[in-house]
């Protein structure tokens, strides 16, 4: 059997992980880092090949035994975001890890996490999906507590671990219920033969809750602000930018297979989305720590994605799915950038001078004059997150809004109006941060701040450019988001 190129998208990072570890162990951490970087960049080659095959409308699939991995639009989108963010984060973390113990473990786990997330996005078997999900989760726990000397990291790690494990056991219970009822685990087969029954309905609820813990659906979100704020900044970027989104993909895959069981899951997504937006925004409002504020804002951004996807599921509006996935992509880049920039400031202002307390918003005062590049990038990211045109975040929210309006259903229009209101008010916490950055007076910590290494500035610059470019030419990524949107609609069927 010919092994299709996309398998290398998964194997390259997964097999690369032990390699990187060994290189780091036996030779040097520096070499290990460059190996990791090289592997991740090399993964773009199979990506290009897969993209081409996909564009030719070939079925890109690979079976081992009875388990099949298959690429569709959603997997391509997720893979693109992973392959963009992960190498940048390897580069970004280089300086903070230099000389620290275990940099090779960090990079190896980063690779493993990337590989398992790509695998997750390709899974077509319910149990296989869970297993990839579990692999992603285990690597992410360990990355959250990478700085295990700090009590706060441990605290966040413990909460993350316990809540995630509860969620994953619930998913597993759902898998068991599905197996008991239908005797198959293949998502395609399930889609064809699932019929409404209390057992499958309970399974739906278990999937929603189990994956919902990872996505941080309110009220399952309590771990997120701790984990995302306490993790090393590069990991925070990855967690907020992509890990919670892969949870969303897993949820969509599982629920889409059971569409026949419950026609109301689109409404469920919309309602959860509305609650997430509101609660995320309200909780972000009083925050005084930069990273914690960003973490809470992730909760509300998941809400926008859910709104777009919910519109697609309820009304069959492809624009909604496209908008939801577009927001997934832009949020990945913007939140990634925001965390990287905040992390760079945290490094320059605190960590580099051996202060391990969190960075507060007040301490940002005047940092714009000391770190112009980082400050401008942070501003772009924050304003983009707040939906100020013409940045990327506005474009994706705008598509969701249009989808809701275009559906011509009053309920959906109500939901998008609520989303617009939330977006409008979210600036109440983004804007003061921007203003603080460009204040004239430098805070004491800014005056003592250390300069930032090139390896930190470069990823920030690249991501900032990407956001501005996507904002000005959203057409660049339309093919990705369109593919993902069509993929979702084709599996739930146009009702």
């Amino acid at each position: 059997m010919v092994i299709p190129a996309f398998i290398w998208l998964i194997w390259l990072p997964l097999l690369g992980a032990p390699l990187v570890y060994l290189v780091g162990r036996l030779l040097s951490g520096w070499l290990a880092r460059w190996t990791a970087l090289l592997l991740l960049l090399a993964a773009w080659l199979p990506f290009a090949a897969t993209w081409q095959a996909f564009a030719r409308h070939e079925t890109v699939a690979y079976s081992l035994g009875q388990v099949t991995l298959q690429v569709d639009g959603v997997s391509l989108l997720i893979t693109a975001v992973i392959l963009t963010l992960t190498p940048l984060i390897v580069l970004y973390s280089a300086h903070t890890l230099d000389g620290a113990d275990g940099s090779e473990k960090y990079n190896a786990m980063l690779l493993a996490m990337g590989g398992s997330m790509i695998g997750l996005s390709c899974a077509t078997d319910l149990f296989n999906l869970w297993l990839w999900f579990e692999a992603t989760a285990v690597t992410s726990y360990l990355l959250v507590v990478f700085y295990h000397q700090q009590p706060a990291s441990l605290e966040a790690g413990v909460k993350y671990l316990v809540q995630s494990v509860v969620g994953s056991v619930l998913v597993l219970f759902g898998v068991a219920l599905v197996l008991a009822q239908s005797g198959t685990l293949s998502l395609t087969a399930l889609r064809q033969q699932a019929t409404p029954s209390p057992l499958l309905l309970a399974a739906c609820a278990l999937f929603a809750v189990g994956f919902g813990v990872k996505i941080a659906l309110v009220p399952l979100h309590t771990w997120l602000p701790d984990a995302h704020a306490q993790a090393p900044s590069g990991i925070s970027a990855l967690l907020s930018g992509i890990v919670i989104e892969t949870g969303l993909v897993a949820l969509l895959r599982a629920m889409a297979a059971l569409t026949a069981v419950t026609h109301t899951w689109g409404l469920l997504l919309l309602m959860l989305g509305a609650v997430n937006m509101l609660v995320g925004n309200l909780l972000a409002l009083p925050q005084t720590q930069v990273k914690r504020l960003l973490a809470f804002s992730s909760i509300s951004h998941i809400g926008y994605m859910l709104t777009g996807l919910g519109i697609a599921v309820t009304s069959g509006e492809v624009l909604g799915a496209q908008g939801g996935f577009f927001h997934l992509l832009t949020h990945g880049l913007m939140k990634g950038l925001a965390f990287l920039a905040a992390g760079a400031l945290l490094y320059g202002l605190h960590t580099a001078v051996n202060d391990h307390t969190p960075l507060t918003i007040a301490e940002l005062s005047g940092s714009g004059w000391r770190y112009p590049l980082v400050a401008v990038a942070l501003t772009l990211a924050l304003l983009g997150l707040g939906g100020i045109p013409p940045l990327a975040g506005f474009m994706s929210k705008w598509q969701i809004l249009l989808a809701g309006m275009g559906s011509q259903q009053p309920v959906l229009m109500g939901f998008v109006a609520f989303a617009a209101l939330n977006s409008v008010l979210s600036l109440a916490y983004y804007a003061p941060m921007v203003q603080m950055v460009f204040r004239r007076e430098m805070s004491a910590v800014v005056q003592n701040g250390r300069s930032l290494p090139l390896t930190m500035n470069l990823p920030i610059l690249l991501l900032a450019l990407a956001i501005v470019t996507i904002g000005l030419w959203p057409g660049l990524v339309t093919r990705l988001t369109q593919g993902a949107g069509t993929a979702l609609l084709s599996v739930i069927g146009n009702q």
Binding site: V138, L142, L154, E155, V169, A176, V178, S182
Partner: protein, 101 residues
């Protein structure tokens, strides 16, 4: 009521015990015990489900995978608990509530 139903209900019961433990316990290692109990429930449920649908061997192989995965989780959790004990001097999760609001 058939044997499979009884066992499946039993699995739900064990799940409930685990959840109860997570709500009530304060000792981190004991919380990991509760997580293990949850995992037992899932293992049992998978095999019973396989049996009920006539794919007992499929259920078995999934269950083996789950046992392995949950052992990894137990190891990670225990290592974390040991670290917590070393850094904070206690296993009480109440001490792990500095991040809030």
């Amino acid at each position: 009521m058939t044997q499979t139903t009884v066992l499946l209900l039993g699995a739900v019961g064990v799940l409930g015990v685990g959840l109860y433990g997570l709500l009530r316990l304060r000792n981190l290692i004991q919380i990991i015990v509760a997580l293990q109990i949850l995992a037992k429930a899932a293992v049992l449920a998978l095999v019973v489900a396989g049996k009920a649908s006539g794919h007992v061997n499929l259920g078995q192989s999934l269950a083996v995978t789950v046992i392995v995965a949950d052992t990894v989780i137990a190891v990670v959790g225990l290592a974390l608990a040991v670290q917590v004990r070393r850094r904070l001097g206690t296993l009480d999760v109440k001490a792990l509530a500095t991040l809030r609001g």
